[in-house]
Subunit: 124 residues, 4 copies
Amino acid sequence: MSNSSSFQKILLDQLPIPNRLITSYATLGLNEVEVMVIIHLIRSFQENKYFPTPQEVADRMTITEKECANILRKLIQKGYLAMKQQENEQQQLSEIYSLNPLLEKLYTETPVKEEEQTADGTIF
Amino acid sequence: MSNSSSFQKILLDQLPIPNRLITSYATLGLNEVEVMVIIHLIRSFQENKYFPTPQEVADRMTITEKECANILRKLIQKGYLAMKQQENEQQQLSEIYSLNPLLEKLYTETPVKEEEQTADGTIF
Amino acid sequence: MSNSSSFQKILLDQLPIPNRLITSYATLGLNEVEVMVIIHLIRSFQENKYFPTPQEVADRMTITEKECANILRKLIQKGYLAMKQQENEQQQLSEIYSLNPLLEKLYTETPVKEEEQTADGTIF
Amino acid sequence: MSNSSSFQKILLDQLPIPNRLITSYATLGLNEVEVMVIIHLIRSFQENKYFPTPQEVADRMTITEKECANILRKLIQKGYLAMKQQENEQQQLSEIYSLNPLLEKLYTETPVKEEEQTADGTIF
């Protein structure tokens, strides 16, 4: 019953979060609760649930379903979260969320953080 | 300048967060802002900074230095965050934070979430 | 159909591998094919398959089932891989593999790599 | 000196590897040693070394520098690894490797693995 039996559990229980989301959300106009909604979405996606209800997201949070719904709406309005239609094998359409707009902003636009630059004032 | 040149950036920019932290923090009595402080600590540790100041943590957040200091204090009081003394090569002592108490709670104690159980209502 | 629609796919498709396994396997007496068997096991575990057959592991590799079985046996003999009995909810016993012995060697024993040490000559 | 002091070490020591690389390399015509060279490159990139020498890569492997150089050449010829020129702040050019061609193949082309498809025999 040694603790080391937990090593594998830790290894297998990682959720990958974009570093730049953590370093840049304040610059993107997001607060901590809104970022946590995004992290809960990433977690849901990893379990192949691409359209969790506000209730399902709020269940693990300290906010109400209504507050969660408002944040999801705000994320869509700000252009960080998208709703898409997806067709399954039975040609049925269903809605899914996508965080690609956020990832695109984080990784292809002019960097929001100066982090990786060596600001020396000589860049023209 | 294709987007695919960003693929590698995304791959290399992941911060590993314990899944159980995300699913269990509410049960552990933590709120979203407090979890985000923990995530900022993990990020700092990954950059080999094991004792960031409240100001350094708050710099990337939407809270003040004072609010951040209060949260760090609360995390220590709740037994999730530890402060330890570490000796470097020059036999100099310095303080470092450690999240091992939190990880121990998450991965070795009776699970705080029912997640891996088969909830059948018969548990007493 | 922009490439950026792949960003989320990359984010969600990461397999966490212990860095020290990659830096230390040669020192541990393992070669590249043996490490890849370990990586395939980690991948299998992440899909909640804790006892893949040699055939299942070899299916994604360029080695035969027999070579794979030999490597699994060698990993057990070397004390890196364990076989354990696990009881499920129906009190049925089944075999599972565990990589905890390897992780214990990598993370609790005297480091196999000098990487994080500051060799000061006083260790005898 | 409990083992649980290793929990944080494990959490902070993860190397993210694309799952699809592990499931698809055989289909891509790569063997285990060649994939391990790629994994060593990813590790090197994470340490901000974007142009390791064959010797540096081979140092942690069980192959010779020459074998490693041959594999790097093969990866470039197969179109999985690219060499690019990068300009630093002092307008100096240097070579860097990029795994974007491989990631592009893994994540934007027709999937090499049937994994996410529902093979129903009707795809002609």
